[in-house]
C-alpha cells in the first residue's frame, strides 16, 4: 500500500513536471516600464533580456524564474534619455551591465493571480522584490503578465541631482509579458 502510494505520488509528480513549460519565446515577450517625469508617464522598454522560467499551469507555486536584463538595451523614450540613463548616476551600465531577478517562491493570490517573490539585483544592490502576475493559456502557449512598482532610489538609480523625486518619481512601474511554450 505504502509502495503503491509512493509510486502514485512519484507518477503524479513526474506527470506534473511533464506539463511544465519552460521555453520562453523571447521575440514575443516584453519587459517595459513607466516612469513619471513631472508627473508625466513616460514609457520605455528593454530590448534585450534573457528569461529562464519554468512553470506548470497546474502547479504554479512550484514555478521558478531567473530574468537577466541587458540594461544598455534600454529605450527610455528619447535619444537624450537613452544616453543619460546608461551613465553613472543612473544604471552605470559599463560597471553594472545587467539587472537580475531570481525568484525564491511563488504563491497564489487566488482567482488566477500569483505572486513571485525573489531578489532583484541592480547596480550591485540586492532588494526583495515581489511581482504579482496572471497566467493565461491560449493556443498552446502560456502567457505571464504582471506589473509591479520598483523604487529606483533603493538601487541608487538616478542619484545626485536626479534623486529629486518631484521631477522623476521614485516609483517606476515595471510591466512584463512572457510567452512560454
Amino acid at each position: 500500500m505504502i509502495r503503491l502510494l509512493a509510486i502514485l505520488s512519484l507518477l503524479s509528480s513526474s506527470f506534473a513536471y511533464g506539463a511544465e513549460l519552460s521555453a520562453v519565446q523571447l521575440d514575443k515577450s516584453t519587459i517595459a516600464f513607466v516612469s513619471r517625469q513631472m508627473n508625466v508617464p513616460v514609457e520605455g522598454i528593454f530590448q534585450q533580456f534573457s528569461a529562464q522560467i519554468s512553470i506548470d499551469p497546474a502547479r504554479p507555486e512550484a514555478g521558478r524564474a531567473r530574468i537577466e536584463i541587458d540594461l544598455a538595451s534600454i529605450d527610455a523614450g528619447s535619444t537624450d534619455a537613452n544616453d543619460e540613463v546608461k551613465g553613472k548616476s543612473w544604471f552605470n551600465t559599463r560597471e553594472f551591465p545587467k539587472a537580475v531577478f531570481v525568484s525564491s517562491t511563488v504563491k497564489s493570490l487566488g482567482s488566477g493571480r500569483f505572486e513571485a517573490l525573489g531578489k532583484m539585483t541592480i547596480k550591485g544592490k540586492t532588494q526583495e522584490a515581489r511581482a504579482p502576475f496572471t497566467l493565461k493559456q491560449e493556443k498552446g502557449v502560456l502567457i505571464l503578465d504582471g506589473t509591479f512598482p520598483l523604487k529606483r532610489l533603493a538601487y541608487d538609480i538616478g542619484s545626485g541631482v536626479w534623486s529629486d523625486t518631484s521631477v522623476v518619481a521614485d516609483e517606476v512601474l515595471i510591466k512584463f509579458h512572457f510567452v512560454l511554450k
Binding site: 508627473n39 537624450d80 544616453d83
Partner: protein, 184 residues
C-alpha cells in the same frame, strides 16, 4: 483725429494676459531646448507646456470674444494698404496664438511625452508616438514661433508709430488710460 472707441475690458485683459504669457513662454522655450538633459530641463519643459496650454485656453476665449464683437474702428486717416496690413497681422496673430500651442501639444505627443497640465490634468494625446513626425512638428513649432516673433515686432512697432508719430490715439484702444479726453 483721435478715436475714443476702445476694446472692451474683456478683450483688453485677454490681450495683455496672452501677451505677457507669450513673453514668458517664448524665451523659456528657446532657453530650455538648448539645455542638456537635467532635472531643471524637465521642469522647464513642463512649465513651458503649462504656459502653452494656458495661452491656448485664453486664445480660445479671445477668439470667442472676437466672434461676437467688432473691434473698434481704425483712424480714418489710415491708408487702404495700412488697413489691409493691420487686419492681416491681427488675423495671423489670432491664428498663431491657437496654432503655436497646438503644434507644441502635438509635438509632445509625437515625441512620446504627454502633456499633464500643472502636473495634474493629463491632456489626451491626439497623435501617437512617432519620432519622425515629432521632429517635423518641432520644426513647425519653431517656424511658427519665429513667424510670430516677426509679427509681434511689426505689431508693437506699428502701435508705437501710431502713438508717438501719428498721435492718432490708436494705442488707447488697448490701453484706455492713455486716452486723456475720454477716461473710462
Amino acid at each position: 483725429m483721435t478715436t475714443s472707441a476702445r476694446y472692451t475690458f474683456t478683450a483688453i485683459r485677454l490681450h495683455w494676459l496672452i501677451a505677457f504669457l507669450i513673453f514668458a513662454a517664448f524665451p523659456l522655450g528657446l532657453y530650455m531646448s538648448d539645455l542638456e538633459l537635467s532635472p531643471l530641463k524637465l521642469q522647464l519643459i513642463s512649465y513651458h507646456k503649462w504656459l502653452g496650454v494656458t495661452i491656448f485656453l485664453l486664445a480660445v476665449a479671445r477668439l470667442a470674444w472676437r466672434a461676437k464683437h467688432t473691434p473698434p474702428p481704425l483712424p480714418e486717416a489710415m491708408l487702404a494698404w495700412q488697413r489691409t496690413a493691420t487686419h492681416a497681422v491681427h488675423h495671423l496673430l489670432y491664428l498663431l496664438i491657437i496654432a503655436i500651442p497646438l503644434s507644441g501639444w502635438l509635438m509632445s505627443s509625437a515625441k512620446g511625452f504627454q502633456t499633464v497640465y500643472f502636473g495634474v490634468l493629463p491632456l489626451p494625446d491626439l497623435i501617437g508616438k512617432d519620432k519622425a513626425l515629432g521632429d517635423i512638428l518641432k520644426e513647425v513649432h519653431e517656424l511658427l514661433n519665429y513667424g510670430m516673433l516677426g509679427l509681434v515686432i511689426a505689431h508693437v512697432g506699428a502701435a508705437l508709430k501710431h502713438h508717438f508719430i501719428d498721435r492718432d490715439g490708436i494705442l488707447a484702444r488697448m490701453l484706455p488710460f492713455l486716452d486723456k479726453e475720454n477716461r473710462p
